[in-house]
C-alpha cells in the first residue's frame, strides 16, 4: 500500500497527505512498540481479557448471575462441575469471574476516558487561553491535586446513589488533574512553535488552533495517560467496591471480593472465593501498566533506555 502512495499525494492535496503521514507514524509507532517485550506481553494479555469479556454472553451468558436458579449449593469448594467453586448463592464462580470482567473493564475504560477527557479539556484550554482563565483553572487543578484522592472518591461515592455511574464519576472526577497538568505543559510547548504563530496570522481561530494543531500533538500523551489511567481506574473500582461503595446488583471483580469478605471467606479459609478475583484485578492492572509504559517510552525516546 504505502509504496504507491507518494505518486497519488501530489494529486489529492493536503488532506491525503496528512492521512498518509498519520498512517506512517502509526506504522513507525508499531515498529518501535514491537521492540518492547513487556509491552507486547501486556498487549497480548489485554487482547485475551478483551476477548473473554466480549465473548462472555456466548460462553457463560447472563444467566450465570441469576440467583434463583443457581446450580450449586452455597460456598462449594472447587470441583469438576465448578472449577472455582461456588459463591454464597451457589452460583458458578468461574462463570461470575468471566462475567465480572465485563463490568470491571467497562468501568475502568469509562472512568479513564472521563478522567482523560476532563484533563485534556482543562489542559488544552488552560494552555491556550492564558491569563485569568488559565490561572483560575490551574488553581482548581492544583486544588484537586492536593485532595486525598481516595478520601474524595469515598466521599463522592457516599454522596451519590450506588450505581456504576457513580463509581465512574467518582474515579473520573478525582483523577483528571495529572493529565490536565501534563497536557497543559505540552500545549504551552506546542503553541510556542513558529507554525502556530503562522496559523494565527493566517486567521486561525481558537477552535482551529486547539483542535487542528494542539490536539493532534498532545494526543500521544493523552493516549499514554489513558492507558495508565485504566489500570488506576480498575484498581480504584475494586477499592470502592471493597469498601462497599459499588453497585451491589452487578457482578464485578471488586464486588466479588467484597461479597467474599462479607460472606466470611477470609476466616473460613475459602480461598477459592477470594484469590481469583484479586489475581484477575492485578493481572489486568499490570497489563495496562505495561502497555502504558511501552507507549510512553515509544513516544518519548529520551526514555529509550527504560524498557
Amino acid at each position: 500500500m504505502t509504496t504507491d502512495t507518494p505518486a497519488r499525494v501530489t494529486e489529492t492535496g493536503p488532506r491525503a497527505l496528512a492521512r498518509q503521514r498519520r498512517r506512517r507514524s502509526v506504522v513507525r509507532f508499531w515498529t518501535r512498540y514491537r521492540t518492547h517485550r513487556a509491552g507486547l506481553a501486556g498487549l497480548a494479555a489485554l487482547i485475551l481479557f478483551a476477548l473473554v469479556a466480549l465473548t462472555a454472553p456466548l460462553t457463560v451468558g447472563s444467566d450465570v448471575a441469576g440467583v434463583t436458579d443457581a446450580p450449586g449449593q452455597p460456598m462449594e469448594s472447587p470441583s469438576g462441575a465448578f472449577p472455582l467453586g461456588t459463591d454464597r448463592f451457589g452460583r458458578n464462580l468461574l462463570g461470575l469471574l468471566v462475567w465480572g470482567s465485563r463490568i470491571s473493564l467497562l468501568v475502568g475504560l469509562l472512568a479513564a476516558v472521563l478522567s482523560v477527557t476532563i484533563g485534556t479539556l482543562v489542559g488544552i484550554t488552560a494552555g491556550h487561553f492564558k491569563g485569568a482563565y488559565a490561572t483560575v483553572l490551574m488553581r482548581v487543578t492544583d486544588w484537586f491535586l492536593v485532595m486525598p484522592t481516595l478520601v474524595l472518591a469515598i466521599a463522592l461515592a457516599t454522596v451519590m446513589s450506588r450505581s456504576l455511574g457513580t463509581v465512574v464519576l467518582a474515579i473520573g472526577v478525582t483523577t483528571w488533574p495529572t493529565t490536565a497538568r501534563l497536557v497543559r505543559a505540552q500545549t504551552l510547548a506546542v503553541e510556542s512553535r513558529p507554525y502556530i504563530e503562522r496559523a494565527k496570522a493566517l486567521g486561525g481561530g481558537h477552535w482551529h488552533i486547539m483542535s487542528r494543531h494542539v490536539l493532534p500533538n498532545v494526543m500521544p500523551l493523552v493516549l499514554a495517560q489513558a492507558t495508565l489511567g485504566i489500570s488506576t481506574a480498575i484498581l480504584a473500582e475494586a477499592t470502592l467496591a471493597f469498601l462497599g461503595l459499588g453497585d451491589p446488583t452487578v457482578v464485578s471483580w471488586g464486588g466479588l471480593l467484597q461479597e467474599a469478605r462479607e460472606a466470611g471467606a477470609v476466616s473460613s479459609g475459602d480461598w477459592w472465593y477470594l484469590v481469583p478475583p484479586g489475581i484477575a484485578i492485578a493481572a489486568v492492572a499490570l497489563a495496562f501498566t505495561l502497555c502504558g509504559r511501552a507507549v510512553e517510552s515509544v513516544l518519548n525516546p529520551r526514555l529509550e533506555v527504560d524498557r
Binding site: 495529572t178 489500570s231 462497599g244 461503595l245 451491589p248 462479607e262 476466616s267 473460613s268
Partner: protein
C-alpha cells in the same frame, strides 16, 4: 505510574552538582519527624497494672467501638452491654423466661390508681469505692435525666412519663407517673453513684473515661479503656449476687469480622459475637474446629419487608412519593406471597434463621403470635399473580404489569449497603417479582435514613431488635409516632397509622396484668399482619462462637437455647466459668511472638544495613 512523568520532569537543561549534604539533612529531618511519631505511641504512659501470670482472662471480640462510657450518652449495644456489667439497674430479666427479677430493687409495687410505683432498694449493694448504694442514688439518676437535657440523651424516653421521683428513705424509691405505664419493671437505666456524678458539669460532654477504675456496683468494675481498642474490667468481689469467676474481662474491638474469627481460632480471644452474627461460612468452618463451640441461638430480631403506606404527618399533610398501587392491600399481600421465605432461610441465612410469622420473634414466647391458616400469606406465586389481576394490575404484552397510570410498575426497594443479607434477599426479590411482572430497583445505601424519613421509597428492608418488653417496637407503628409535620421527624418506623391498632396499643400499655397484656399484644400483631405493611420474612439467629478451652461454661439467655452477647442482663459474663488450663493457646501465642520478633528483626537489620550502606557511600563522597 508516575515514573514517566518524572523522566519528562527532568528534561530541562542539565548541570552537574551534588547536593548530597543538603539531601542528607532533609532526610534527617524526615527521620526526626518519624522517630517523634514512633516515640509517642510506644511510650508506655501511665498504664494499669498488668494482669498477673496465670490469671484467667475472658476476651470478647466485638465489632462495634464504644461510643461513650457515660451511661447518659451511650447508645451502642457494646456500650450499653458494658454498662450492664458496671452498674446495677433497678430490675433485671430472668435468664429463663425474661420475667422481671430483682436488681438494685428487691421488690416493687404499684398503687391502685396505677400511677405510683414504689421500689424497695437492696441494702447489700456497695459502690466499688466502699460507699453504700441507696435509693438516693437512683432518685438522683432519674431526676438528673428529667431535668438535664444532656443527661436525657440516651435513656430520656424512659422518664418521659415520670411526674416525680423521690427517695423517702435509703431503701425506698417512689416514682409517680403522669399516665399508667406497663413498662415500669423494664426500666433499662443504669443507676449511677450520686456522690461521683454530681461533680460532673456538662453531661452532654462527659464521657466517663478519664479516671480509672470507674466507680460502679455491677458484677464488674471497669479498670481501663482505650478508644477503638479495648475495655478492661475486673470482677467486683463484693457483688451481691456473687463475684464473677474470671479474673478479668476484656472487650476488644475488631473492625473486621474475619480478623475476629481468626483471632478466636488462634485463641487470642475467647468469644466472638459477630455483627450482628457470624456468617454461615464462618459458622460452618468453626464447627469443625477443635475446642470451639458455635452457639446458634434463636435471635431477638425480626427481619422484615416494610411497605410505604403513603407517608403522612400528624397534621394530615402527605409527603413522599410511595407508589399508590401499594395502598391496595391485595397488592401488598400478593408481593409477600411471591416471597419464598423458605429459600431466604435456606440460601441467604443457610439455616441460621427461623421463618417469619408474627411481628415478635418466638424467643419471647409469651408475646409470640402465629397467623391462623386462613389468615396466612403463604408462598404461592400463582395466587399472587391472580391477586394482582383481581386488583386490576394486568400484564401487558411484554409481561410487565401496568399501574393505574398505564406505566409498568417498578418498585424502589431501600436496602442497607452494610448488610449483606439485604443485598442477597434483594437479588432474589428482583427475580421473584420479575416473574410476577413487577420491576425492582434496589437502592442500597450506607445510610438509608434520608429517603426513609422523606417517604421516598416503595419498600424497604427493616428489622428491629425486640426487648423483653415489646412496648417500643409496638409503639413505632402508632399514629402518635408520626412526625408532627413533614419537616420534623417522628418516632414512626414506616408511617403506619391504623385506628384499630392504636386502640389496642393504648389498652396494652395500661394493662398491668401480664397475661391479659400478652393477649392484647397478640391481637396487635394479628392486625399488623393483616395490614400487610410489615411483612416479617425471618427471625435471624444469633450465631456466635467461643473457645471451650478458655470458657468451660457460660449461661445463655434464654437458658435453654439462647444467645450470649447482647443479653438483657449480665448473665453470660457474670456466669462464665474459666476452663481449667488454657496453656496450649498461650503457647502458640508466644511462639508467634518469637517468630514475629525474628522477622521484625530481619527487616530492621535490613533497613539498618541499607542506611549504613548509604552512609558509607556518602562518606566516600566527601573524601
Amino acid at each position: 505510574m508516575s515514573t514517566q512523568v518524572h523522566g519528562r520532569g527532568l528534561s530541562g537543561p542539565r548541570r552537574s552538582g551534588p547536593r548530597a549534604g543538603r539531601l542528607v539533612a532533609a532526610a534527617g529531618a524526615a527521620a526526626l519527624v518519624f522517630s517523634a511519631g514512633l516515640a509517642t505511641p510506644l511510650d508506655p504512659a501511665p498504664r494499669r497494672a498488668a494482669a498477673a501470670e496465670g490469671d484467667s482472662v475472658l476476651t470478647v471480640a466485638v465489632a462495634q467501638s464504644v461510643d461513650s462510657l457515660s451511661p447518659f450518652l451511650a447508645q451502642r449495644l457494646v456500650s450499653t452491654s458494658i454498662h450492664r456489667l458496671m452498674y446495677e439497674y433497678l430490675t433485671n430479666y430472668d435468664p429463663k423466661d425474661n420475667h422481671a427479677v430483682p436488681g438494685l430493687a428487691t421488690r416493687w409495687e404499684s398503687s391502685p390508681d396505677k400511677l405510683t410505683w414504689t421500689y424497695t432498694i437492696r441494702s447489700d449493694s456497695k459502690w466499688s469505692d466502699g460507699q453504700q448504694a441507696t435509693a438516693q442514688d437512683a432518685a438522683w439518676t432519674f431526676n438528673k435525666m428529667m431535668t438535664d437535657e444532656g443527661a436525657a440523651t440516651a435513656n430520656g424516653s424512659f422518664v418521659g412519663n415520670f411526674e416525680k421521683v423521690t427517695a423517702p428513705s435509703p431503701t425506698q424509691l417512689v416514682i409517680q407517673l403522669k399516665k399508667p405505664q406497663a413498662t415500669m419493671t423494664a426500666l433499662d437505666v443504669p443507676i449511677v453513684p450520686k456522690h461521683v456524678w454530681e461533680k460532673v458539669g456538662d453531661f452532654s460532654k462527659f464521657n466517663n473515661d478519664k479516671s480509672f477504675p470507674v466507680v460502679g456496683n455491677g458484677p464488674f468494675v471497669l479498670t481501663d479503656y482505650k478508644p477503638d481498642s479495648y475495655v478492661r474490667l475486673k470482677p467486683n468481689k463484693d457483688f451481691w449476687r456473687g463475684a464473677p469467676k474470671f479474673d478479668e474481662l476484656v472487650v476488644r474491638y475488631y473492625k473486621d469480622q474475619d480478623a475476629a474469627v481468626a483471632a478466636l481460632r488462634k485463641g487470642e480471644v475467647s468469644f466472638v459475637a459477630g455483627s450482628p452474627s457470624l456468617t454461615p461460612a464462618q459458622a460452618a468452618s468453626l464447627k469443625n474446629e477443635k475446642n470451639i463451640r458455635v452457639n446458634d441461638a434463636p435471635g431477638r430480631r425480626f427481619y422484615a419487608l416494610a411497605t410505604n403506606p403513603g407517608a403522612k404527618a400528624k397534621n394530615g399533610q402527605k409527603f413522599g412519593d410511595g407508589d399508590p398501587s401499594l395502598l391496595d392491600a391485595r397488592v401488598r399481600h400478593a408481593l409477600f406471597q411471591a416471597v419464598d421465605r423458605k429459600t431466604v432461610i435456606d440460601k441467604v441465612f443457610q439455616g441460621h434463621a427461623v421463618e417469619g410469622q408474627g411481628y415478635i420473634p418466638p424467643r419471647f414466647s409469651q408475646y409470640f403470635w402465629k397467623p391462623s391458616a386462613s389468615q396466612e400469606l403463604a408462598y404461592d406465586p400463582e395466587k399472587a399473580g391472580r391477586l394482582l389481576d383481581q386488583a386490576g394490575y394486568k400484564k401487558n404484552s411484554a409481561g410487565k404489569r401496568l399501574g393505574k397510570d398505564g406505566k409498568p410498575i417498578t418498585y424502589r426497594v431501600l436496602c442497607h449497603a452494610t448488610d449483606p443479607n439485604d443485598k442477597a434477599v434483594g437479588q432474589y426479590l428482583t427475580e421473584w417479582w420479575g416473574e410476577l411482572g413487577i420491576g425492582v430497583t434496589l437502592d442500597c445505601l450506607d445510610n438509608v435514613t434520608d429517603p426513609w424519613l422523606a417517604g421516598t421509597y416503595d419498600l424497604a428492608f427493616d428489622g428491629w431488635s425486640v426487648n423483653p418488653d415489646p412496648d417500643f417496637v409496638l409503639s413505632i407503628h402508632t399514629c402518635a409516632a408520626l412526625p408532627a409535620t413533614p419537616k420534623v421527624t417522628g418516632a414512626t418506623d414506616n408511617f403506619v397509622c391504623d385506628k384499630r391498632y392504636d386502640d389496642l396499643y393504648a389498652r396494652q400499655l395500661a394493662e398491668y396484668d401480664p397475661a391479659k397484656r400478652a393477649t392484647i399484644v397478640k391481637q396487635m400483631e394479628s392486625r399488623l399482619y393483616d395490614l400487610g405493611y410489615m411483612n416479617v420474612m425471618a427471625y435471624p439467629n444469633a450465631v456466635e462462637a467461643y473457645r471451650t478451652d478458655q470458657i468451660k461454661s457460660i449461661r445463655t439467655m434464654p437458658s435453654a437455647a439462647g444467645n450470649i452477647y447482647g443479653q438483657d442482663g449480665y448473665w453470660s459474663w457474670w456466669s462464665a466459668v474459666p476452663a481449667a488450663s488454657d496453656g496450649s493457646s498461650d503457647d502458640s501465642g508466644s511462639t508467634g511472638i518469637v517468630i514475629g520478633g525474628v522477622v521484625l528483626a530481619v527487616i530492621l537489620v535490613g533497613a539498618g544495613g541499607f542506611v549504613a550502606l548509604r552512609r558509607r557511600s556518602t562518606a566516600d563522597d566527601r573524601e
